[in-house]
Every structure is written in structure tokens, then in C-alpha cells.
């Protein structure tokens, strides 16, 4: 392992870029492009240097405020490293998509880069305080990006977004204060170890009372549920996604929504696995409701951004379903091989789905951005039609992305969703079956979009709609290539994810 503090560098790089962008103003986009390219390269280096056994590597640990249990503690495993790579890809896509920021470009790109730093920080942190800092750090640039560059109703959307996520954060903070009071530690690996032996529960019970632990679990779940979002905490999302400028929406859905799922896997399940297992059934119901509600809601929307926003809810619902399905206590003392195989499959699927959804959803909003830019801001489904005639390349590539979102075999979403179903079916067959039928609604939504946007008569304001120019094609090609690659050879990703999955599940107690 190299002696360089890679993870600190990775987090510092975008912050540096942000400062530079702010200073340079006019050339901010070029700065942002270079910074995000470099970040992606660095994230890939981190991915290459993962320990092969799936444990946490590249650890950096320094004392910070020991009396408060606060440490500077960084490290990555297959899960966090994949999220780093995803964040870097999505930010790069977002910067690439943001061609036309005329209003204060310096500030805009500085905020985007700060957001990226926040993502990197929260995906590498192993101490609650440190993690929480970056979790909040993401929130502030996101708020201003919506508030300052958003659509006509950006004010209420930004406020709603902020209040919801802050409420979630407050729940998280309270829960962790309670845990700190009981254990005098905020260190994730340490707390995970305590939880896996059942000691954490005893300590909390001793310090705060016997029924407190389950309430802490619910608080933490609620905090993450808002971020993902899970039904019924999703109501902030459509407004925020629709009002945010499309490149920012790419960041919100592609990367920030993963923070919620990541939090469930890094914090909620390791610490509160046992409590979550007790309320598994209602959680599964909510997850399935997220899947089904997301799909139905997408089916009735008229605004392309809202359609894709609800599709995001739907797709992340599959992640939630997979996560809650695998929270099954082992029967008896022995190791049940079949149960374990299902849990492995489900978790592999969830992690793969996080990557896939990030790329696909970001790409979809990218296309919306291009369509808005070409038509002067139109984004209603009924405002488009017949685009395949003037813009066959755009129609073809967007078609591929839409089919990826649908889960067509050969494209990236299929292996992830298949693994989730494969894992969830034996563990929770009702939830899995209902969700599979939810796929049907997704198919209707996506085909309706294809039909209304690409076929039929060409509306007047779309006459002369330019096709993708050379630069856009070049920018999209690697994204679509990645979709095909993951779709055809998921083992490229799963090879590094699977050891982490086994390592994670070995430390979780349900």
C-alpha cells in the first residue's frame, strides 16, 4: 500500500478545485472539468487498491477530539470505493452537462465541487462525527444550487428539501448522542463489533433504559429513509428534482440518494440489525410501497423530470426491498447455507443496483437537460413528439438509457435487479413477487415516454431540433459503454464487491 493519504487527497482535491473555480469565475467550468477528471482517476486508483479479502483498507486514523470520541478515521471497502467511483462519474457527467450556466458560473461550479467533496467525505468516513460533518456539508451546496439556479418554483422546493433532510439529520444526531453516552465511542468499526456481540444493546439498555434501542433504530432509519427516499418520506423529492437545474438533479439522484442507502448499509444494519429484524415486516411493506407507488406515480406525471424522479424512487425501492429482505435472523445456531447464499445475492444486487441507478438516472436527467436546452426549457411529455426524425442519434441513445432503466437484459440494471430478486425471493417471496409485478408498471411508463417523445407528429417548437453534436456524442459514449459492460459482464464489479459483501454479512447480527 502506498504511503500517501489517498482518501484525504481525494476529499481535498474537489475542495481545492472549488476554491480555484470561485477565484477564476469565468473559466470555472474548465477548472471543474479538470478537477472532476482527476477525482475520477484518483477514485479508480482507490478502487484498484482495495484489499482483496473485502475488509476495510487504506485506513487513515488520527486523534481529533478524543474526549468526545471524535477521531479522524477514514477507510474504504468494496462498497464505499464503488460509491466513490460512482460519485466521481456522476459529478463528471453533471459538470459536462452544465454547458449553459451564465449566472455566476464561479459560484455554481464551486458549489458542485464542494458537493463532490462532501460525497467523498461521507463515503470514506468511519467516525460518526466526521461522517455527519460531510453528510451535512452535502446538504448546503445542494440547497443553494436549487435555490439559486432552479426553476420557477425553486424557493419552496429548496426549503422543503432542506427541512426534510434536516429533520432526518436531527434524528440521526440524537440517536448517535445516545449511543455515545452509552458507549463513549463514535467509531463505526468499533460500534459494529459491539453490536455483533450484542453488547451495544446491553450498554444502551443499562444507560438509557430497555426499550430505547428500538427507538434509536427507528430514528436512524427515518434519517436515512428521508434521504433515499422511502415511502412515505419521499414527498420532498419530486419538487426538488423537478425544480433543480437538470445537472444538479443528476447529482441529487445519481450520487446523493446513494448516501441514504449507503447509510443503511454502513450504519443502520451493522448497529441496529437486531432491532431492524424485529420490525422487518412493516419495513418490507414500506419498501414494496416505495416500488409500487413510485412506478404508479411516474405513470401519471406529465413533466419528464417528475417522471424520472418517481422512477428513481421506484428503482431505489428495489434496493430497500433487497436490504430489508436480507435482515433475517439465522434459525438455530448453525449456519444455513441456503439463507446465506440468498443474503449474499441480495446484498450484491443492492450494491450493484446503487451503481446502476446512479449512472442510469443521471444519464436520463442529462438527456432532459439536452432537450430543455434545445427547446428553450420545455420538459412536458406532451410538449415533445416525433423527435426521432430530427434527432435520430439522441432518440437512439436515450432509448438505450431508457431500456437500461427498464431492466432489459444486456444492459446494466438487469443483473442488479435480478440478483436482488434472486436473493429476496427465498427470504420474502410476497414482497419480491409484488415488486416484480411493479416492473410491469415501469415498463408501461418507459414505453409511454418513448412513444410520446420519439414518435408521432413533431410539434412546432421542435422543428429544427438539432441532433446531438459531436462533443455530446463523445461525452455520452463512455456512459453507454459502461452500461453495456456492466450489463454483459457484471462480474467485473461483483468480483470486488462480493468479498466485501461476505465481510459485511459476517459482522452483522440480526
Amino acid at each position: 500500500m502506498s504511503g500517501l493519504p489517498l482518501l484525504t487527497l481525494l476529499t481535498a482535491l474537489p475542495l481545492l478545485g472549488a476554491a480555484l473555480a470561485l477565484a477564476l469565475g469565468k473559466h470555472a467550468r474548465a477548472v471543474a472539468l479538470i478537477t472532476t477528471f482527476a477525482s475520477l482517476a484518483l477514485a479508480l486508483v482507490v478502487w484498484m487498491q482495495l484489499p482483496v479479502n473485502g475488509s476495510i483498507g487504506l485506513i487513515e486514523q488520527h486523534a481529533w477530539a478524543p474526549s468526545l470520541g471524535i477521531e479522524y478515521h477514514l477507510g474504504v471497502d468494496g462498497l464505499s470505493a464503488l460509491m466513490l467511483v460512482l460519485s466521481a462519474i456522476v459529478t463528471l457527467m453533471s459538470v459536462d452537462a452544465a454547458h449553459h450556466v451564465h449566472h455566476q458560473p464561479g459560484l455554481y461550479f464551486a458549489l458542485v465541487l464542494t458537493l463532490e467533496a462532501g460525497l467523498f467525505g461521507s463515503f470514506t468516513a468511519l467516525n460518526f462525527f466526521h461522517w455527519f460533518l460531510f453528510w451535512e456539508l452535502c446538504l448546503i451546496p445542494a440547497f443553494f444550487l436549487i435555490k439559486l439556479w432552479g426553476g420557477t418554483r425553486r424557493g419552496p422546493a429548496a426549503t422543503q428539501f432542506f427541512i426534510y433532510t434536516m429533520a432526518g439529520s436531527a434524528a440521526l444526531l440524537v440517536a448517535f448522542l445516545a449511543i455515545f453516552v452509552s458507549t463513549t465511542s463514535m467509531d463505526f468499526p468499533h460500534l459494529t463489533l459491539l453490536a455483533s456481540t450484542g453488547e451495544l444493546e446491553q450498554l444502551v439498555a443499562a444507560h438509557l433504559g430497555p426499550s430505547v434501542m428500538i427507538w434509536l433504530a427507528i430514528g436512524v432509519l427515518a434519517g436515512f429513509a428521508v434521504k433515499v427516499p422511502m415511502f412515505p418520506f419521499h414527498t420532498w423529492l419530486p419538487a426538488a428534482y423537478a425544480e433543480a437545474p437538470s445537472p444538479v438533479t443528476m447529482l441529487l439522484t445519481g450520487a446523493m440518494s446513494k448516501m441514504g442507502v449507503y447509510g443503511l448499509l454502513r450504519i443502520a444494519l451493522p448497529l441496529f440489525g437486531h432491532q431492524i429484524a424485529q420490525i422487518r415486516t412493516p419495513l418490507l411493506v414500506l419498501a414494496v410501497a416505495t416500488v409500487v407507488m413510485g412506478a404508479w406515480a411516474a405513470a401519471v406525471q406529465k413533466d419528464l423530470k417528475r417522471v424520472f424522479a418517481y422512477l428513481s424512487v421506484n428503482h431505489l425501492g428495489y434496493c430497500l426491498m433487497g436490504i430489508f429482505a436480507l435482515v433475517v435472523p439465522a434459525a438455530g445456531s448453525g449456519i444455513d447455507a441456503a439463507l446465506q447464499a440468498s443474503q449474499y445475492a441480495a446484498l450484491n444486487g443492492v450494491i450493484l443496483q446503487m451503481l446502476n441507478h446512479g449512472i442510469t438516472a443521471a444519464a436520463l436527467f442529462w438527456f432532459v437537460a439536452m432537450m430543455q436546452q434545445r427547446t428553450g426549457g420545455h420538459r412536458g411529455i406532451d410538449q415533445f413528439g416525433g423527435l426521432r426524425k430530427p434527432a435520430p442519434v439522441l432518440a437512439g441513445l436515450m432509448g438505450i438509457v431508457l431500456f437500461s432503466s427498464l431492466g432489459l437484459p444486456g444492459l446494466n440494471n438487469f443483473p442488479g435487479e435480478f440478483l436482488i430478486f434472486r436473493g429476496a425471493f427465498p427470504l420474502a417471496w410476497v414482497a419480491a413477487s409484488v415488486s416484480i409485478l411493479g416492473l410491469l408498471v415501469t415498463a408501461v411508463v418507459i414505453l409511454t415516454v418513448i412513444q410520446k417523445v420519439f414518435t408521432g407528429p413533431l410539434p412546432e417548437h421542435c422543428v429544427g431540433f438539432p441532433d446531438l453534436h459531436h462533443g455530446e456524442r463523445m461525452a455520452l459514449a463512455p456512459v453507454i459503454g459502461l452500461m453495456l459492460l456492466v450489463g454483459l459482464l457484471p462480474s467485473l464489479i461483483l468480483g470486488s464487491v462480493n468479498p466485501t459483501v461476505m465481510n459485511l454479512l459476517a459482522h452483522w447480527r440480526f
Binding site: 437484459p409 430478486f421 425471493f425 416484480i436 416492473l439 410491469l440 414505453l447 457484471p490 462480474s491
Partner: protein
Amino acid sequence: MFSILHPNSVSLLAWTIYLSFAGAVLLALMPRGKPALSRWLALAFAVAGLALAVQGFVVGMGQGRVTLVDLVWVPSMGIRFLLAADGISRVLVLLTGLAAVAGVLFSWNIDLRTNEFFAFYFALIGAVYGVFLSFDLFLLFVFYEIAIVPKYFLIAIWGSTRREYAAMKLVIYSFAGSAMVLIGLLAAYTTAGSHSTGLVELAHAGLPISFQLWCFPLVFTGFAILAGMWPFHTWAPTGHVAAPTAASMLLAGVVMKLGAYGCLRVGIALFPRGLDPWGFSFIGIGSWRGVFALLALVGIVYGALAALAQSDFKFVIGYSSVSHMGFVLLGLMTLNQIGVTGAVLQMFSHGIIAGLLFAIVGRIVYVRTHTRQLAELETMHLSKRMPFAAAAFVVAGMASIGLPGFSGFVAELQVLIGAWKVNHWWVAAAGIGLVVSVAYIWRAMQKAFFSDLLPSAHVLEQEHNHAFAAITWPEVTGVVLLVGVSLFVGLYPKILLDAIDPAVKTLLAGGVQ
């Protein structure tokens, strides 16, 4: 793996898949302004596929199941890229090859974005080859899903009557079916506790009877939706009618066979005990076998009656497909050697004949008359003005009603013999369907070609003023190819039966005791 390079090997059959997908990609990249180039390229790919299929069929004669390619794909789940062929696969691959060539010939007039049309066309063909050659359930499912997308675009872009509605309906039905299949696939994989999704491994996994009793109907129905089983058939007539001619030929000719093939290869082979009696009976039906046989019979009779009542020529053929596919499903439900063999032969036979009928109605006649309404065709004296089409339809119609000498006769006879062994009433009900099928073909033939509603002098004048375009060489070639195959198989069915018979025997022995 390197056996694929051996020139005289059965494994060449796997190249039907690769070649078709390569053709799809190549055609998608062709320049748009050169339709003739795209056409010839498409024909070359289709003929190459047919040549591979014929070669595979000939080399495979007398052989059982032969593995073509076996590569590890997703090791943690035991998913393999496993292609293999037994007699049933070889016959259906041959059918696909024939249908592909005929489809290209009857699409010779497509001028709208020709290269894209053929790109979708070959994506569909490649997926169909893939389904017929997959011996890994996961792989089969993947190809089955891939086949859905090009169908959608073929209908939605190049279709006619209410094409967007029809395309969407077809896709939703297909996805609903595949969702059911996916649930069954996952349930079987989990219950078997095996670490393989291979069809052979799953068939030998000894799935519990109680499990098979619920999983069988789920998977069977999922596949049967695509086979046009009543009451899930409604996508078929609208889809067939809206589709451009080549796509209707493929839909009726091959895609419906995908469903029937799935019913046999997955439904019956993996869950044979799902057909066992329930132990009680309800209105005389005591097992899923009874249920599906009843649905098949309703489909046979209903499809025929509906065909008799249509005013649109293409709808007549669309409903006749539902009726003929009922024979396939009935044959499968006999579960005996002769009945199931007949079902597979009927898949082949119907694929050829339905393709021919759609080609005549949708291409040869429609392109010249610009109508498919029987009432309007009645005034046109087509037998005089278009003798080739009339003659072709007479032959195709005779083949369709199962006249001895054509492939349909052998196939339906076998199904009926098989059915007789199980339940006499099945034969009686199917017989009604056969009688009605004579009636609807006769009615359509009479109205479309041989009516003398208007005095012939008037028609001759019409002919003089608006002469129809001459029959083109692709049309003649296509008709001759399909009629020839149907006649050849009708006169010498042994050539296919020798391949199907042992494969069915193995399949039934592995399942039904």
C-alpha cells in the same frame, strides 16, 4: 470452446445467434440513403443463418442433445452461457431460418429507414435463435426478454392500424408473461437448492410435488401468453394486424412458437408433476392438465369462429393463428409421445403457413389494392387481376385447413391421435374447430378472390385504367420457398419427425413417468 471452429461440427449452429446480432449491428450502422444495399445485406445475413440452420439440422440427424457452447458466465450463481441443441431445437431453428429469409423477401418494398427496419428485424431473429438454443434457464430468459424490444419498434414505427396501441399491448402482455416466468424461475432455483440454472440440472433436482403444483401453472401461463392461449390471446390479432408484413410473419411464425417452446422446454420439462391430478375435481376438471387442455380447446374453437366473423382480411389470419396455436397447446397437454411430437411439428408447420398467409394478405394483395376490407376486395375480381396471389392463397388456404399432402395435416392428425388416447371429447371439440377453419378460409377466399359481385366488364375497365403492379421476384421466391417447404414436409414428414421424436421421448422420460 474451440470446437466452434471445427468446420463440420454441429456447434456451428450457435453462430446463427452471433451472426444475426452482428447483422443487426451492421445494418444499424449502414447509411440511410441506400435501401437496396440494406436489403441485399439483410438477405445475405438471413440466407447465411438459414444455411447454418440447415447445416446444423443435417449434421445433427440421428444425434441427441449436443452441447454447442458451455462457458461460465456468473459463477456465484452457477449461471452458464450454455447453448445446446436437441431435435426440437434443430427443427425450430430451421423454422426460424426459413421465416427469416421469407420475411426479408416480403419486406423488399420497405423504403422507410430500411436499414433500421432490418436492424430491429435481426435483433429479433437473433434473440429467437437464442431462446431455441439455450439450455440454461437464465440465458433462455435473457433472450426471451431481448426479443420483446425489437417487436415493439417494428410495430410502433413501421406498423399500420392503431400501431401504437397494438405495440404497447403486445409489450405489456409479453412483460406480464415474463414477470410470471421470472417468479417461477427464481422459485425453482431457490427450491431446487442447486447451484446451477441449467435446464437439465433443474429438471433432475427433484422439486417437491406441492411446489410443482403451483409453479407449473405460473410458468406455463407466463409462456402461453406469448403462444396466444385463450383468454390471453388478445394481443395476437391486434399485434399481427398492426405489424408490418415481415413482422406479422415473424410474430405468428416464430414468436408465438417461443411461447409454446417455453411451455414445453421449461413448463413441462421442469415441472412434470405439476400436471398431476389435484385429488379433487371441479366441473370435471381434476388437474392443471385439464385446465390448460380446456383453454386450448376454447382457443381452437373461439379463434376459428372469430376468424369467420372478421371483415378485415388480416384479422382473419390473425384469429386463425390463435386457433392453430390451440392445437399446439392441446398437443402438449396430451403428454404422450405422438401428441407432443405433433405439437412440435405443428409449431413448424404453422410457422410456415401463417407466414405465407400473412405475406399474401399483407404484402402481395395489400400493396396493390391498398385495402384489407373483404367487402372492398369483393368488388375487385382479384382472381383475374392477380392470378398469382389467388393461386398462392388457394394453396396456402388448403395447407392451413390441413389438407393431406401439406405439413399441417400430419401435425394436426398427430395431435388429434394423441388427444384421442387421453380424452375423446377433446377430439370432438377440436373437430368443431377444424370444420370452422374450412369455413373461414373458404369465406375469405371466396370474398377476396373469387367474388363476382360486380359485372366483369366493369372490372376489366378498372383493370385497364389502374393495372396492378406486376408480381416481383422476391414475392415469387418467397411464396415458392414457403409452399415448397410445407409440401415437402407434408409429403415426407419423416425428415422432421426423425429429429423431433427422440427428443420428445427423452424430454417426456425425464419428466412424466
